[in-house]
Amino acid sequence: MKELVVISGKGGTGKTSVTGALAVLWDHAVFADCDVDASNLPILLNPEIREKLPFSGGKKAEIVEDDCTGCGLCESLCRFHAISQEDNGIYQVDPLACEGCGLCFRACPMDAIQFEPVVNGELYISDTAWGELIHAELYPGEENSGKLVTAVRQKARETAGAKGKSWILTDGAPGTGCPVIASLTGASGVLIVTEPGVSAIHDLERILELTKHFSIPAMILINKADISPEQKERIRDIARREKVTVLGDIPYHPSFTKSQIKGKPVTLDGAPELYRIFEHLKQLILEKLA
């Protein structure tokens, strides 16, 4: 089983549009959307949710009012300032600030604190016209997106294994932090979607450090390639320096936005020249990861 992860740094470079476009062309694949903060691949692949699983990223503390004597020990111990005294003298935990370390729970002399797993997201197994899609949604304001990303990839592997699929095509998490590390460790290859602009190039350099650090073969795709010839040349220079292949260019094309509005991947009914570009791209990736 092989896994291609599409990432882009901060996003906005067309990562999800590219993943969606490739999904239509990819045979024998299970798809995964690791952008659990803002999962957009389902907008293109129109999944029908088959199964919903609750996700728990950790525990949280809660003070049982009746048992608390108001000694204040928990407040003084909590390093995340999650516990405070209300006007009526009762102590309370702010669930958004609690990092679930359990210290207050262990320390409370009255055993007045509960420390239980909380559900902070949902994981979905869905059917699309091209194969199963595993996606998820983290509830607003919750942390642990890294753990949820790991759960999505785990589920994608299980599903691919059970269905005898040979590929997982993953829309990676944005950024260069914990969620994206969770979305690319152990992948067979990473496709970095970038665009010729100072911000995207800055992100690209950071991502390349990551892929190097984890020794994952990386490939670069330049989207909106015609926006700035000078910046495009800079991407090529970086690629040469880092010995990473640039697989090709995609021109800026209104077809991407039009397909998005229709809720379809661009290779389904977008401009024919884009279809040819993605066909070619798929061949190059298959050769690279063979």
């Binding site: 525990k59 100072v198 936005t257």
Partner: protein, 281 residues
């Protein structure tokens, strides 16, 4: 005034709005632009800026005094993040998993745990030649580090009387941390189905923490009316629509400021500044 500029995700033009608004407003007053997008700070790329300070961000991690440790395992069992492991050589720490909660130190019966500093990022301060009244402060998380919140907290401690914050993307805890203390929140989005979906996510988060917000639509005219219609239904004010223009895209790509090239955009920033100042700047 403390203005946070957020977006459901990156690439919507959040930084474009932040840098242009900060530069524009700094012509009349001292402005601090805080780049809290510490995983990928990009704001300073839009200025010719000189770094004036460069400081470490550190967190506390436990240090095990092996000669005192009796291997009772209490600390290992206590750690909710699996940052401690009992090995043949004694208790071993995986520093990147540690949340600096101090629980292990608290439970150790032998007082065999101390704490030491570990650097996880940098805070840099910049001054811009062309905008003498603008100060840019960026947080930069070291590569491979996962805990961004301490860096963001440090950046936010630089808030001054008039502050514009380029928030991290997403809707999870780093963003909550950033907008919690803001007086005003602007959400930058795009008029596409992706933009609408991300806007809904960020709106849910902002409502959860009870922060009123306004919307800026970027690349307007390229997509559909979904975002505008939704804002109308929900009674969310749209304070600015930035048209999609290829000449804008080109200037942004080259790291230029739109206010320096396009009078129309300068006027947009003037309107936005007036709107913000009129209400308590």
């Amino acid at each position: 005034m403390n203005l946070a500029i957020v977006s459901g995700k990156g690439g919507t033009g959040k930084t474009t709005v932040a840098v242009n608004l900060a530069a524009y407003m700094s012509r009349e007053r001292d402005i601090r632009l805080l780049d809290a997008d510490a995983e990928e700070p990009n704001a300073v790329l839009f200025f010719q800026a000189d770094m004036s300070r460069d400081m470490a961000v550190s967190v506390m991690v436990p240090e095990i005094l092996h000669e005192k440790c009796t291997r009772c395992r209490k600390c290992v069992e206590m750690c909710e993040y699996n940052a401690l492991m009992m090995t043949r050589k004694g208790v071993l720490l995986s520093p990147d998993l540690c949340h600096s909660c101090g629980a292990c130190m608290y439970v150790c019966p032998e007082k065999a745990i101390l704490e030491k500093f570990r650097e996880t990022g940098r805070i840099r301060e910049y001054h811009c030649k062309a905008y003498p009244r603008l100060q840019v402060i960026e947080g930069d998380l070291h590569r491979g580090e996962s805990r961004v919140t301490p860096v963001i907290d440090d950046v936010l401690s630089y808030a001054g009387p008039c502050t514009i914050i380029d928030a991290p993307p997403g809707t999870s805890c780093p963003v909550v941390e950033t907008v919690k203390h803001a007086d005003r929140v602007l959400v930058v989005t795009e008029s596409t189905p992706f933009g609408l979906h991300d806007l809904k996510g960020v709106a849910a988060m902002l409502r959860l923490i009870r922060k009123p917000f306004q919307v800026v639509i970027n690349r307007h005219g390229q997509g559909d009316d979904g975002v505008e219609n939704w804002c109308k239904e929900e009674g969310i004010p749209v304070v600015l629509k930035i048209p999609f223009r290829e000449d804008y895209a080109r200037v942004i790509a080259g790291g230029g400021l739109l206010i320096e090239h396009f009078p129309r955009f300068r006027e947009d920033m003037a309107c936005l500044a007036k709107d913000l100042c009129g209400k308590g700047l």
